[in-house]
């Protein structure tokens, strides 16, 4: 039975699909995702053409080039064709998984993304996991002891870090722990020249991860803390918690077994969106800590402009977000029995 008040506060677009069958729900959501993806492809293609600079000219500038050289380069890049033809080629290649060849690196974009994918996900993934766990744990504790010193301190601290620019915090940490105290490395993913394997390699990478992940977590965990806190606060006034206490449960268990699972629902969407954004890297952190990531790669692509690289990464990053959004819709439906009721 659906409580009408609760139903009201649920997603409004679920009005129609609430209580509908699974295939219909899936079809509608999938259709939406596909439309978004198509729009992203077209938009991405045209957006980057607006950037100043003719790639053929930028790449041959400052060197002696024969008169036909620039024209030949332009033809090799396919830039001499009308825009719509170029768009057609791009879409056609997308279906075969070919994202084009980078102008600057002369390698397939898929290969480049593949190479940088591991380090990127390691960085953003670790930061995401830690900030989610930290944020959620602190958030629900803070809500439970609302207005206590715990609540005030942690909410305040989180918000202070949230307002700080990531690169600034990163640089500070680098200066302090890398340059001055010399406890941690000043950049990169591994110690240069040391060809480690196995456990030593894992620990070496872990050592290099400490500072970048700390910078990222510090700046972001407030997001999860605040959402979780608000969510738990809302749950705290519910009747079923009084029942739980009346049954004789310890406060801790009331919190962890009843309030928190229900309060987790709004954070599900947030978490999935975060997962979708992991692949895009974190360009400021990668720059400060010289981490080989996709954020920095994409940013560098802006200078030529390296159109295949930019288009390719744009499509991949957007697709990740769209897919995760879709998965979130599915998971939400599974988690929340109220959505299935007919």
């Amino acid at each position: 039975m659906t409580d009408p008040v609760v139903a009201e506060t649920l997603g409004h677009d679920d009005e129609e699909v609430r209580g509908s069958s699974l295939p219909r729900y899936l079809a509608l959501k999938a259709g939406g995702a596909l439309v978004s993806l198509a729009l992203v492809v077209v938009l991405g293609f045209f957006t980057f053409r607006v950037l100043p600079g003719d790639p053929a000219i930028t790449m041959t500038r400052g060197r002696q080039v024969t008169p036909g050289e620039v024209e030949r380069l332009r033809q090799a890049m396919g830039l001499d064709q009308p825009l719509l033809v170029q768009l057609g080629h791009f879409v056609r290649d997308l279906f075969t998984g070919d994202l084009g060849t980078s102008y600057v690196y002369r390698r397939p974009v898929t290969e480049l993304i593949g190479e940088y994918l591991g380090p990127t996900l390691l960085l953003t993934g670790s930061a995401a996991i830690i900030s989610i766990i930290l944020g959620l744990w602190l958030g629900q504790k803070a809500a439970w002891r609302r207005n206590s010193w715990f609540d005030k301190t942690h909410t305040g601290l989180a918000l202070v870090f949230w307002s700080v620019p990531t690169f600034w915090l990163g640089l500070l940490l680098l200066l302090m722990f890398g340059g001055w105290l010399q406890w941690l490395p000043t950049g990169g993913m591994t110690t240069p020249g040391a060809h480690e394997t196995g456990l030593a390699y894992v620990l070496d990478v872990a050592e290099h991860l400490v500072l970048p992940v700390t910078s990222m977590v510090a700046v972001v965990y407030a997001q999860y803390l605040m959402v979780m806190r608000a969510s738990v606060l809302e749950e705290m006034s519910a009747d079923y918690l009084t029942t739980a206490r009346a049954k004789g449960l310890r406060e801790d268990l009331v919190r962890t077994r009843h309030a928190v699972p229900n309060a987790l629902l709004p954070t599900v969407t947030l978490i999935f969106l975060t997962i979708g954004g992991l692949i895009a890297g974190a360009v400021t952190v990668e720059t400060v800590f010289s981490w080989p990531g996709l954020g920095y790669l994409t940013y560098k692509g802006l200078s030529a402009p390296d159109l295949p690289l930019l288009q390719g990464t744009f499509v991949v990053f957007s697709a990740a977000v769209i897919v995760m959004n879709f998965v979130a819709d599915l998971v939400y439906r599974v988690l929340d029995p109220r959505l299935k009721a007919s």
């Binding site: 100043p52 002696q64 024969t66 680098l174 490395p185 000043t186 990169g188 040391a194």
Partner: protein, 586 residues
């Protein structure tokens, strides 16, 4: 759990200190810049071409003062009035895999560039005058040129081993692992965006390097690189800003080097840009077509002040576009000199030329419009912003208004190519042979109307200059050519289209407790990295064999252990307390 953590950390320490011994005899250098590819036919970014200089030699190399010296070729001679060049390859020249370097390798390299358009990306412009390249015997190569030229055609082009490359598709060959090369170091591995590892070439004809290898560590920002130098993560850093340079002055074990550079920074003036077909390009202020106005602007630039205040003295005042690195071509032609900084004389010149000052102190041009010029610079280079402030104030004193726009480098490039500027800050790095730079000022160098085609340095054309260019291009006598070159650069200067303000000094720093003995280029007061050649890193010696910075207990171990212990205690107490509270409530 605590015991497990400590054991893990101990294990890591033990294994890392073992590895540290291995990396002892390699030099770690910072690399702030992207690598596009190591294929010498395709590489165009400065970092990659720079690193390729360590592993591939050309027929003719650059010596410690950028003079032509034997590379793969031990001697060469011209005949047929400079149309035929014959190179003799030294018998002691070997590839890093032990194979003999022969004429076949040279023929393969040059013919690949000449015949395959896709391989012309890096050096196509350097072979336009070559008709054919043939081997007359295994150690001799004959170049037949289309017309006589003074520049040595054996310079610049890296020779690749035919026995390796002919088995690959040269247009796709990455050539980034276990490379076979002829230089003092060859690439062993390349981790994209992370490190480049090179090892000493045992068969290098000048003798194996004293260092076992080089590791170039990618740093994406120079502040981190400086911290890396301080902490010992790297041994040598370049590309420092004056502020970073000065912050390292007090460090005991760090030595600084401010070398003579190859780059000039100038204020360019739009003389009325014209495209290849002679049609006007862009939207430069028409008043600038008057040479006297441009000359007055030259007179209003106080170069000494800029070097002192903007560069903190870490630069030298500019003369013509040629930096002092190239002594043969440096300076004005006999009897000519730079325009002096003289605001009064500039004002006088403009008064005499008929530019009257309006009520607000700004002069009016011949059409009665106030003389306000746009000044363009890069928003990525702080000297541009600082110089703009100075230039604005000086121009104001001679009655010219300025509107400064600092934009992205790409926009600067685009607008300057299309002639859409009045004034802008420009700069180029010169190679040892001035022909390439001069070629960008000929009438033929002007681009098409849409900006494609050739690169014109100043959007300017002069038949007098073209004659000087042709003369130096084919003049084989060194002294005569040097004279012609100076005259050519002086002509550019006296057209008042580009005013070289300074030659910046590249700033480098290194750990003197780890390495020393660098040969700079030029030998006196030059640079260690980014040379025309490999002398800097080839000559270096590691001073200490001890791995003070690697291995041993990492500093973070103690604090980390303390944190873990404290967390453990806190957790334990919390659990006890919670259990107690429940009991109480029950």
């Amino acid at each position: 759990m605590l015991a497990v953590l400590l054991a893990l950390a101990g294990g890591a320490v033990a294994t890392t200190s073992a590895q540290a011994q291995e990396s002892d005899k390699t030099l770690k250098v910072s690399l702030v810049g992207d690598i596009d590819t190591f294929n010498p036919f395709l590489a165009i970014l400065l970092s990659s071409t720079g690193l390729n200089r360590y592993q591939y030699e050309a027929l003719v190399g650059y010596g410690k003062n950028s003079e032509p010296v034997p590379g793969i070729a031990e001697k060469w001679e011209t005949s047929n009035q400079g149309k035929t060049w014959t190179f003799t390859i030294g018998e002691d020249r070997k590839w890093s895999d032990g194979e003999q370097i022969t004429a076949d390798d040279v023929v393969y390299t040059y013919t690949s560039i000449l015949e395959t358009p896709a391989l012309q990306e890096a050096n196509g412009g350097l072979v336009t005058n070559i008709d054919k390249v043939e081997a007359s015997d295994p150690q001799t190569v004959v170049f037949t040129l289309k017309s006589a030229q003074a520049s040595n055609p054996g310079q610049e082009i890296p020779i690749v081993p035919e026995h390796i490359w002919s088995e690959q598709d040269a247009t796709k060959f990455k050539a980034d692992s276990d490379v076979v090369g002829s230089g003092p170091y060859t690439l062993t591995s390349f981790k994209t965006g992370q490190t480049v590892e090179m090892k000493a070439n045992p068969h290098f004809w000048r003798g194996k390097s004293k260092i076992d290898g080089l590791t170039f560590v990618s740093y994406k920002n120079s502040d981190a690189a400086v911290q890396g130098l301080k902490s010992g993560d790297i041994d040598l850093v370049d590309g420092l800003t004056p502020a970073q340079y000065e912050s390292l002055e007090k460090s005991d074990n760090i030595k600084l080097n401010a070398g003579i550079g190859r780059r000039y920074q100038a204020l360019a003036i739009n003389p009325g840009a014209i495209d290849k077909d002679g049609k006007p390009m862009g939207d430069g202020n028409p008043a600038l077509k008057d040479e006297k106005l441009r000359q007055a602007i030259f007179m209003a630039i106080d170069k000494e002040t800029i070097v002192k205040r903007v560069l903190n003295g870490l630069g030298t005042v500019g003369q013509t576009e040629v930096p002092a690195t190239y002594q043969d071509y440096f300076g004005f032609a006999d009897g000519h000199e730079a325009v002096p900084f003289d605001l009064d004389a500039a004002n006088q010149l403009l008064d005499d030329a008929g530019y009257e000052k309006g009520a607000d102190g700004i002069r009016e041009d011949k059409q009665g419009e106030p003389l306000v010029l746009r000044l363009m610079g890069r928003n990525t280079e702080s000297p541009h912003a600082q110089m703009a402030d100075f230039v604005e104030s000086w121009l104001k004193e001679i009655g010219i208004g300025t509107e400064t726009q600092l934009v992205t480098p790409d926009k600067v490039n685009e607008d300057s190519t299309l002639g859409k500027y009045d004034l802008y800050f420009t700069g180029w790095s010169l190679g040892p042979d001035p022909d390439a730079q001069l070629a960008m000022n000929t009438c033929d160098s002007r681009p098409n109307a849409d900006g494609s085609g050739n690169t014109s340095e100043n959007n300017w054309c002069s038949s007098e200059f073209d004659q000087l260019f042709k003369a130096q291009h084919a003049e084989l006598d060194k002294a005569k050519r040097a004279d012609l070159v100076k005259q050519a650069f002086t002509t550019i200067y006296e057209a008042y289209v580009s005013n070289p303000i300074y030659y910046i000094k590249p700033l480098e720093a290194y750990r003197s407790d780890r390495v020393d003995g660098f040969v700079t280029q030029p030998e006196k007061g030059g640079v260690i990295l980014n040379q025309n050649g490999y002398w800097g890193l080839y000559s270096a010696e590691l001073t200490s064999a001890d791995a003070a910075d690697d291995g041993g207990t990492p500093g973070w171990l103690i604090p980390a252990a303390v944190v873990v212990v404290l967390a453990g205690i806190a957790g334990f107490v919390a659990v006890r307390r919670r259990g107690g509270a429940a009991e109480d409530r029950e």
